[in-house]
């Protein structure tokens, strides 16, 4: 009996790559910078896992993703000839992660799922990013769970387990929804149910998982199909 759906967000619900590419280009153009937006988004995102790994490994304490994003931004700016940007512009770039566009099927699918299930992000993004993304895209969370309340980054077990505990639920009453098999494998190991949503274009055409590479409870092509599978 599934009571709550836990969502991966970056890649699964929102198209971070197109959004960061477009918004960064738009933000820098008036300052005279001709940015390769897609290369910039990819370079920024490439720093994501290594920066969280420092926290996961215990090398440093928990730091919010907004702060890791900002550190990672500093690291890549010189590669794009952007080492002279003002602090305000750097901060404005960092805030792009708060207004990423959802994949087209997401808002309607989430509204259907909301009728029957508790919905919460179990993302590596911090609370304010998750609040802003739901507002930006017009869907509702029951509450924000995941990294900031667990003070642990996925795929560390604590990120999933603390999220289930916060809702007074057994892990088996929660289902992780993600476009990434590695996330689902870690969630399943903690006892959660799992659903895969295909996002074949996450890193550009033909780059994402068209189907899960691990055993899952549900596999859907988009959030509308998942909503149907879940009886909503």
């Amino acid at each position: 009996m599934i009571s709550a759906l836990f969502f991966d967000v970056f890649g699964t619900l929102v198209d971070w790559r197109s959004s960061v590419a477009r918004e960064a280009k738009t933000l820098l153009a008036p300052l005279g910078h001709q940015l390769d937006g897609t290369a910039f988004a990819d370079a920024w995102r490439a720093e994501y896992q290594p920066s969280m790994e420092e926290v996961r490994s215990g090398k440093r304490g928990y730091v919010r993703l907004d702060d890791l994003h900002r550190e990672n931004l500093e690291r890549i700016l010189p590669r794009f000839g952007l080492d002279k940007l003002s602090a305000e512009t750097r901060e404005a770039l960092n805030r792009i992660w708060h207004r990423l566009d959802a994949w087209r099927d997401v808002p309607a699918g989430m509204r259907r799922l909301y009728v029957k299930y508790r919905l919460a992000p179990v993302s590596n993004g911090n609370i304010s990013i998750m609040v802003d993304l739901a507002r930006h895209n017009g869907f509702f969370w029951d509450t924000v769970l995941g990294a900031e309340i667990a003070r642990a980054y996925k795929p560390s077990p604590e990120a999933y387990l603390a999220s289930a505990r916060a809702l007074d639920l057994e892990p088996s009453s929660c289902m992780m929804v993600a476009a990434h098999s590695s996330d689902l494998a870690a969630a399943a190991k903690c006892g959660l149910k799992t659903a895969h949503v295909a996002r074949p274009g996450e890193h550009g055409p033909g780059t994402g998982e068209t189907k899960p590479t691990v055993k899952v409870d549900f596999a859907a092509s988009d959030m509308g199909e998942l909503a149907g599978m879940m009886g909503t």
Copy 2:
């Protein structure tokens, strides 16, 4: 410029007294117990502040309100001749706090306020209570803040300050909404804006604050009036 509204919940948004009285009576009647529901609700609630004070004073670490409620229940049961109740019945009683009814003006007022402001409980209740109360009464949180994410009970400053930080907001961009002047005074001391909502019947007719006893930014007779004052 106010971006987020922080809500006290017990007493301000929900009528805990009538709900606990009615639900406890209903739950125990089939077991042959003739309960004075109101006396029971009052006795249970009377243990609330002393139990949190142990955490606030540092005498014990943070414990979720569900657990304090359960400990407090054990304490009062003998007074009502209920020391033989099963563990299941005790747990069922404790869950009443997850389905308290909102005051009549709340759902519509909250839906109006949602259009313009981030809404979050900054309550001493834990995350699962807050999620369940919003579902039970048909309104939305952007996320649950307050005691569980701060690991501190109001009126400790950290309960307010950690909640503002979680939304990346200065305290002055957040407004605490409560029926209790003591809560508002503590919030104001942390730099938050404040709004008082009168709940004259919280502990029975004529017992609650009809107006604030401290200086506040807004004072309203119900959530609909507050929504109007806030331009929604």
